[in-house]
């Protein structure tokens, strides 16, 4: 029997996936025996959503992209019933989308976009829970930890601390009550890896947590998940209930002496709560403020007990490592960085979506080989890695490998996996301002330099992008950065200057052009632009009415013009024009 599988990851749903699903459901009423309808999580090719995979029941399958409810009828008639694939809608098979999957190595995403995340049976069919069974019934906790140490796995939440070592510390910490926490707060405002994993393969994360609990001797766990991710939370609840029913959670897991329970805590929307000590305060019901470390959570964490906290992707790696061995994992990657890394690809790249590559590939390989290069073949300018704590790496340096040390050397960080590609139409001063606006708003306010210093920096950046900056401002930015870095308690403050420092380092002339020539070379900073009206103008007079300074003139139904002496560059005419006739330069 044929199977129709619909990608209902976040992006799939946003692109109308549920409507396509319902259209297939309707068809099922007319042809109940023609096919089985299933859903799955993020397939990775978000740029071609809505994605529909048709499997023929004999092991072969093909995938359609950009499916709409209107296209469903033809897929049913020609393909499902008629047995002929519709070539012009195909995204996979033959020579299509060359490279997107070949260069990837899927360990974390092994089931994402393949299984129905609502079915524990499908997870088990793919080998799920075998690793936990093996660990609990055949391995000593120390052996589990050794395997993770051998794998070389480092925390994927941004810090990159060796996971095996962290587990060892928590195991060795005195006390018989210990906790496991999964950090699913995903604070980077340009990233969706953890969300896609939770929505696409929630059981993999639970299994990793069970193994961690056994290894360190914890019987209780929390998943701290953003409340903005309702679907991930629903998936987790479902997966937890099913695991409990199967005896993978609760008392006497797999018939052993080991008891383990997982609870979900919804985060309430504060970036700083991704920081581990703030996260713990938040689970305890307090304002999520970081505290000084040491003691680290491994010694004194939740309710003062030893606590092991890891990121979603970190846990999702663990079952694979236990099943295949630490050495198999360590075969991927570089000397310093082992295994794979998931990236959420966004920005000006052709194939946006979720990719997982072995460490050691170069940034250029990800952008050009996996993701097909820059949209409209514009000029590649930089990538931003690590979100508000990270930095911009210029195109000229993108032959470096995905490796903690190599990336740190540029001034950026590996981060949690947001990779935003920028082209010649992105203004680097504006990007720095964007991140600083974010960190400034999210500073918890405990440290003066983080609170006031970021505000001062933001004011400077606002001046520069308004054409009112001076060259001294650049030195002040450097100086403030140093002070904030040195005088902040937590990573938020310590890393907040990174986006500014990296852009200053690699794109200094762009700052200088804003200051000296009062121009934004990328045409982004609105007050530095010149607005003109082109021949697309229909003379509708809408811009003329909207202009606050009467700078626009022209008769009804004739092309309008802008008096540059009167124009205050507010951009109103640009947003009100319905004919794209106002252009900025």
């Amino acid at each position: 029997m044929k199977t129709v599988k619909i990608g209902l990851g976040t992006c799939g749903i946003s692109a109308g996936g549920e409507k396509v699903y319902r259209a297939f459901q309707d068809e099922l009423k007319d042809h109940p025996d023609a096919f089985v309808l299933k859903e799955t999580g993020c397939i990775g090719m978000c740029y071609r959503e809505v994605l529909v995979e048709v499997s023929n029941g004999n092991g072969t399958a093909h995938m359609y992209g950009e499916v709409t409810p209107e296209r469903v009828g033809r897929i049913i008639d020609e393909d499902i019933l008629g047995g002929a694939t519709i070539d012009e809608w195909l995204v996979s098979g033959e020579d299509r989308e060359v490279g997107f999957f070949d260069r990837q190595q899927r360990i974390v995403l092994r089931n994402c976009g393949i299984i129905d995340p609502g079915s524990i049976d499908e997870y088990i069919d793919m080998g799920g829970y075998r690793a936990a069974r093996r660990a609990l019934t055949q391995m000593k906790p120390e052996e589990v930890i050794d395997e993770v140490v051998t794998s070389g796995l480092r925390g994927r939440g941004g810090g990159g601390f060796p996971t095996g070592t962290k587990w060892k510390f928590t195991r060795q910490a005195p006390g018989d009550k210990k906790y496991i926490i999964c950090n699913a707060d995903e604070g980077d405002p340009g990233a969706f890896m953890d969300r896609s994993i939770l929505e696409g393969d929630p059981s993999a994360v639970l299994e990793g947590m069970i193994i961690a609990g056994y290894a360190i001797g914890a019987d209780e766990a929390y998943i701290y998940c953003r409340a903005e991710y309702p679907k991930a939370i629903a998936r987790l609840r479902q997966a937890i209930a099913q695991a409990r029913k199967n005896g993978f959670l609760g008392n006497r897991v797999f018939g052993t002496e080991f008891n383990f329970n997982i609870k979900i805590k919804e985060g309430a929307g504060a970036f700083v709560c991704g920081e581990e000590t703030a996260l713990i305060a938040s689970i305890e019901g307090k304002r999520g403020m970081p505290r000084f470390r040491p003691p680290f959570p491994a010694q004194s964490g939740l309710w003062g007990k030893p606590t092991n906290i890891n990121n979603v992707e970190t846990y999702a790696n663990v079952p694979w490592i236990i099943l295949n061995g630490g050495e198999a994992y360590a075969k991927y990657g570089t000397e310093d960085s082992k295994g794979t890394k998931v990236f959420a690809m966004a920005g000006k790249v052709k194939r946006t979506g979720l990719v997982e590559v072995p460490m050691g590939v170069t940034i250029n390989e990800i952008i050009f080989d996996v993701c097909g290069g820059i949209i409209d073949d514009k000029k590649f300018k930089a990538v931003q890695m690590g979100g508000p704590s990270g930095g911009c790496i210029p195109a000229s340096m993108c032959d470096i490998q995905i490796d903690y040390q190599q990336i740190n050397r540029t001034g950026a960080i590996m981060g949690s996996g947001g990779l935003v590609v920028m082209d010649e139409t992105t203004c680097m001063v504006d990007v720095a301002k964007f991140f600083l606006t974010f960190t400034q708003a999210e500073s918890c306010g405990k440290c003066t330099f983080c609170r006031i210093g970021t505000k001062r920096m933001l004011e400077i950046l606002e001046r520069i992008t308004a054409g009112e900056g001076t060259m001294e401002d650049l030195d002040n930015l450097d100086e403030l950065s140093e002070q904030i870095r040195a005088a902040s308690l937590c990573g938020l403050g310590q890393t907040a200057p990174n986006p500014v420092l990296t852009t200053l380092k690699y794109f200094r002339e762009e700052y200088e052009t804003h200051i000296k020539e009062k121009k934004c070379p990328a045409h982004v900073c609105s007050t530095l632009l010149t607005y003109t009206i082109n021949e697309k103008c229909t003379g509708c007079t809408v811009c003329k009415t909207a202009c606050p300074t009467d700078a626009i003139f022209g008769e009804k139904k004739t092309v309008h013009m802008i008096d540059q002496n009167k124009c205050i560059k507010c951009g109103k005419c640009f947003t009100v024009c319905r004919f794209d006739a106002v252009v900025k330069d």
Binding site: T10, G267, A268, K286
Partner: protein
Amino acid sequence: MAEQTTDKFKPFNVDLWKYDGQAGALIPLLQSAQDTYGYISEKAIDYISHVTGIPSADIYGVVTFYAQFRTKPLGKYVIKVCNGTACHVNGAKGIADTINDELNIDYDETSDEGAFSLLSVACIGCCSLAPVIVINDETYGRLTPAKLRKILRSYKQKVKKEAQTATDQG
């Protein structure tokens, strides 16, 4: 059964408190209150204080710390503009400007008749559709100011019609 108060307060899930019986349940309690009423009123804070014994001022401190909690009700149509990195570099500012212009509301504001509220959110996970907005549960992607204006006008029409029906029905 959840405890009742004297006014016409619908009881939200105070049982959460009884389950955990520890301070950690304060945030879930607030979330439950917000789910029930759409926002956290002073009354809700006093009520939670009464149930838990936590001083109102401390609860207020927690409410204002987290972006999720609102102390004012939202409009009928809640417009969330994604200001994640990908949407930002793809022109989220022009999107917000268009909404300001068309509906006359800024971030964290609600239009006079309570029809529209405007919020800013971080990445909503569909960067491939950037720039993106969400109106209630419907996502609109690959927006341009012109495309957005059409969408907003259709919502304005809807609001007008709904108001009309309401007056017709008396």
